[in-house]
Amino acid sequence: MIRDLPDEAFTEPWQARVFAMAQVACEQMGLPWDAFRDRLKAAIAEQPERPYYDSWTAALEDLTGVSA
């Protein structure tokens, strides 16, 4: 059920950091926000059931070419 899922934006502090890291990296790289969002969409499409902020991490790796 949708309503059983958390109502918060983030359930762990690292998620807020990944959220912010994507914005900072885009700005630092001089890229429009769409550059990240397109990769996020691709990351979600690739693994729809992956936890949401894991897809942010994957998209951020894709954007920056840096792999953790």
């Binding site: 949708i2 899922l5 958390p6 918060e8 807020a16 630092q28 926000w33 953790a68």
Partner: protein, 205 residues
């Protein structure tokens, strides 16, 4: 069982990977810890649905602002000092007795950050993203919102450019409430469209 000394909570693989990536991006000069801290702090303390609620309450009491909100929501947000990423093209959709609106992003999680903050976990979940389009009436019922059969439900899928926000109807019995008290009635869910403002019993003047 406790071993009598403190154990740090084990970090999940997701957290470890995100932390490792942060360290690498700092090392490469692609981010700074300070800049990340600033954005985390901004979304934790400043940017949130209270902003959208102020816009809605103002639109309820100020016809000129309502007109601006419905014709150019980006300008209406800017007038309140709200702007930034994911708010470049805001569109406000108005609930009426005949039409109920709700927002979704089917492909990822697009959402009007400058006026609603970061979306809740459920908004970003696969079931909300798919079911809200396929069977909105059922989803709304799960949120406790039972709409009359004759009410048209419009679902707005945030596209590449546009971010939507719902202007709910001002509830009956709130004629005596001032703008500040009206703000209290406007929850985040009302502006997503999975709820409507409710007046608590006896709260209306």
């Amino acid at each position: 069982m406790s071993h009598g000394h403190h154990h740090e909570r084990p970090k999940s693989p997701s957290e470890l990977r995100a932390k490792a990536l942060e360290a690498l991006l700092v090392e490469r000069g692609l981010i700074t810890t300070d800049a990340v801290d600033t954005i985390v702090d901004l979304f934790q303390n400043e940017v949130g649905p209270r902003r959208g609620a102020r816009m809605v309450a103002r639109a309820w009491v100020d016809p000129a602002y309502r007109e601006l909100l419905l014709s150019d929501a980006t300008a209406a947000a800017a007038e309140m000092g709200y702007g930034g990423a994911e708010g470049e093209r805001l569109v406000c959709v108005e609930n009426t007795p005949d039409v109920h609106n709700a927002i979704v992003c089917t492909l990822c999680s697009c959402y009007p950050w400058p006026v609603l903050g970061v979306p809740p976990v459920w908004y970003k979940s696969p079931p909300y993203r798919s079911r809200m389009v396929r069977e909105p009436r059922d989803v709304l019922r799960e949120f406790g919102l039972e709409l009359p059969e004759e009410t048209t439900i419009r679902i707005w899928d945030s596209s590449a450019e546009v971010r939507y926000i719902v202007l709910p109807m001002r509830p009956a019995g709130t004629e005596e409430l001032d703008e500040g008290r009206l703000v209290e009635l406007v929850t985040r869910d009302c502006m997503i469209g999975v709820a409507v403002p409710r007046v608590a019993e006896g709260a209306a003047a």
